[in-house]
């Protein structure tokens, strides 16, 4: 059985530049309004009277970091059981794919996925999502998001190997805890990374925020 694949995302190196987002759009021919991959910006902190000079304001605990996310090809994908027509299936190597022939566009999967990974294609009335560049992966190449990263913050590979090398962390605020779907994701935290569910900041792109 093929070793399941997953992503490693180095949040300490991600600059939020969206090269991966555009590479993904280019690879998949996605129009504006449709994303397979997104950047989530999270940050917080405040301004207080400067303790050393009350005539000035000083930053207090201001932080920010970015996460680059697509479908996480989870071990227990919430989208798969949510689909009434069994249109979403997982290959032995973990890649979650939509059979567009079976998809009826009911959008239940979109509601089920905690990562907002599924997109509704209004031109066909079907759901679409990241397929991990399966055409490339099957040919031994890497997905375009990975090879586009200018700070080398993305990596794809057998998830067991990635976890062995980079640890077990699979969520940072504002992501939901990984317990729900067991995402095949390893995050290298940003120095200011905050634990999922306990974040003190807010996502700065709320319109595309996770539910």
């Amino acid at each position: 059985m093929a070793a399941p694949l997953g992503f490693r995302m180095d949040a300490s190196a991600c600059i939020g530049c969206r090269s991966c987002v555009i590479a993904c759009k280019s690879k998949n021919g996605l129009p504006p309004g449709t994303h397979f991959r997104r950047i989530i910006e999270y940050g917080g902190g405040t301004w207080i009277p400067d303790p050393e000079d009350p005539t000035l304001l000083a930053p207090s605990g201001i932080f920010a970091y970015c996460l680059s996310l697509s479908c996480l090809h989870c071990e227990e994908p919430a989208c798969v059981p949510a689909c009434p027509t069994q249109a979403i299936q997982q290959r032995p190597d973990g890649i979650v794919l939509i059979d567009s022939g079976r998809c009826t566009g009911c959008r239940y999967c979109e509601w089920a996925c905690p990562y907002g990974a599924l997109a509704f294609d209004s031109s066909t009335g079907r759901m679409i999502k990241c397929d991990l560049c399966v055409d490339l992966v099957d040919g031994g190449e890497e997905p375009w998001c990975v090879t586009s990263c200018v700070t080398r913050a993305l990596e794809v590979g057998p998830i067991q190997e990635l976890r062995a090398r980079h640890g077990q962390l699979d969520a940072l605020a504002p992501l939901p805890s990984g317990e729900q779907t067991l995402p095949r994701l390893v995050i290298t935290p940003h120095p200011h990374g905050q634990p999922a569910g306990q974040g003190t900041g807010r996502s700065s792109n709320p319109e595309r925020d996770l539910r």
Partner: protein
Amino acid sequence: MSDPPGRDQNRPYHLHRRDFLKWSAVAGGSALVVGGLGAGLPLLRGPRLPWDIEEPGVPAPGPVRLTGGEWIPAACWHNCGGQRCLLAAYVVDGQVLAVKSDDTQPDTPHAPQMRACARGRAQEGQVFGPDRLRHPMKRRNWQPGGGRRELRGMDEWERISWDEALDLTAAELERILGEHGNESILELGSTLRHLFTGLGGAVINWGSTSWGTWLDTGPMIGLGDGLSRTSHNDRLDLQNCELIVLWGGNPAWSAQGNTMYYYLQARRAGAKFIFIDPYYNDSAMTLADEWVPVRPGTDHALALGMAYTLLDEDDPQHNPLIDWDFLNRCTVGFDREHMPAGAHPDDNVRDYVLGRRDGVPKTPEWAARTCGVSAPRIRRLARRIARTRRTALLTAWAPARTHDSDSWPQMFLTLGCMMGHLGQTGRMTGVSCWERTADGGPFLIGPGGSGVPPLRGAPRRTTARINNSELWDAVLEGEYTAREGDRRSIDLRAIVHDGASALNQVSGLLKGIEAHRRVEFVLTLNFVYNTNARYSDVVLPVTTQWERHSYFKGNRSHLTWARQVVEPQYEARDDSWIAAELGRRLGLDPAEMLPLSPEQEEFNRLAGAWVVGPQGQGRERLVTITEEDIREMGVQGQPQKGRITLAEFREKGIYVVPRRPGDGLGHIAFEAFRKDPRGHPLSTPSGRFELHCQTIADHVRSVGFSRIDPIPVYRPPAEGYEETFDDFERGIKGPFPLQLMTLHYRRRTHSVFDNVAWLREAFPQEFIMNTLDAEARNLATGDIVLIRSRHGAVLRPVFVTERIMPGVVALGEGAWADVDPGTGLDRAGATNVLNGARPTGQGHQGWNTCVVEVTPYRGPIRLQADWRQPPRMPQGAV
């Protein structure tokens, strides 16, 4: 799918990859079957492009099937400030199916792939955009002499033939030249420069834009401008730093490509980072161990407070903070014992800082009030930077893009010299930005010359040059400053936009529109309907670099050779062809204007391409060229031996000089000078760093806008923090209480790419404001705000964040102005509507000094999300 009426039936604009794929799907006959789930997953779907969204019935999005074509190295050709990356376009039968970046070599930290940014990857969005200018156009109500000039920017367009366009352009230029002479034509680009040289010249513009005051001050004090001459060490030596100070810069936005990767490597090697910036920007987010927020235009005051701290606390025995040996040997002007010849001994930096010269000690307390950093923090900052031996004291040009900042580079240098952070491994002071971010030193590779001989121009009939900040006044008022005490009258009748984007990208945009409506003729050469084109009378469509023969560009350690990707789109022609055709009509010899074929120019660049030898010794030829290569290219030349074959370079489109520590290709700026300043003098009059520099003081004076001292004296800038007050002493705020910063924005390279839907979506043109300022005005993210300066007003959605200092707001430069004719409000957020044309100092653009007020907007104008707005198209002609 039928074309709307008027569209060129021979080259329907959407015959690009979508239609091609539909066709190929039919011809191929089989669906692409992927993965282990087999035939249940028919994934071959024609890809959909951003500009297709309004057309119903297009195939679903899906991965592109790449067979039957080839990857062609493709240009990314803008003044982007990035590393100059490699793109490749997959082309089948003249159609581009996909765009990728460098994968020609394994990716290693020392020899990384030259990976493109989001903009480069979206390049197809502008080459094949729906708003490509397709054919020559004439403004409907234009007549020779101007016609209804006030309609510029609002008029309809008429499609005309190339012959008609060239004839009437030549006739109008001839008429204006005949009636008003060469000094009546203002040329604001350069692609027709040969034409105007042949005709006896035209009036041109001048003035530092990107560099701020580093352009003139940097070289005159001995440091360099940061582009043509750098003063930082190479990228591998950055990894020897213990501390890297980035003072006013955000490479993650303004220097894309690999540059942040280089800084990350330094961080992994152990360097700590301090960011001094009004904005906790994305580079700070990634790298900063410490963030010091400072108000725009007050960096000089902060640096003075730090210099005072060093002088105050330095004790050579017990607390050495100042490198006196370096100051004494390598600089002039720091104290009265080390003055350059002819200087008054009172004019020394030390006495100025301590207040002996003007009675005002530049204490941290004095500085805090202006710069917004508390005095204790200023002291700690000065101590930390001075005590960390291997420190890179780096800045970008932004703090120098402020009014009256001609002495700032000198102040920055003064700090570096006081701490001795120059000329050794891990130690450097100067500019690290734009293309040269994080990698200083002379180039290791480069192309040869084109071999085009300089044109024999006609005798020049004008030498007038107008500063960018006086351009529109010169048109409207008929006067400009030639130099100190020398105001001249001028009678401008035509504006020629041969490239560049002057109307949008020079301060005082609303005045610029007025100026465009004043003259008799406005000509634009471009490939998109940008702001220049919109306010013109005749628009000539030019090719993009993807439609031209070849393009060479690189950076310190790589060279790219991009080739023609597709045929010219629609009726677009090269600028050089247009110049020759206009020249022919105006009595010049076109053969002289196009002396070499594009193939011969390409060959000359290849044959002359060089790469540094092993251990940095000498230069070698880069390319091996055989007799057969020369025959195939159809050019004149000699075979030669080089490092790689022509075939390899042609296929990959890139050569990267491999780097590793100790390879002899590193660079320590000013190393020899520091060891032996007499034996290796700088090019300044004193041969040393000039902390007292008469050259720059005389230069600024001669320009005629303002005066500066020969030492770095702080001058409150026009439209700086001080001007947010009615009464600075008593702390009473004025009508424009906020300071606007004008940022390089990720969506664009200056104004280029603003029209690309993918990028408009990824990077909305939002107005950045601190939470406290927003609360005070009852604003939340997404609210539409009216931003007013003394010079104009724009509308934008606000983005509220703690990451910017209270009192400071920011907007990205380069959005294509969209001025509502009724209200005069710009809907796009073009920063030059807000930034006024104010000539100061060396005549640079002072974009980071501008005072504004922000209020909720409750008027009738509605703004759509940027990416939902339809592309801007010329009315009537398409």
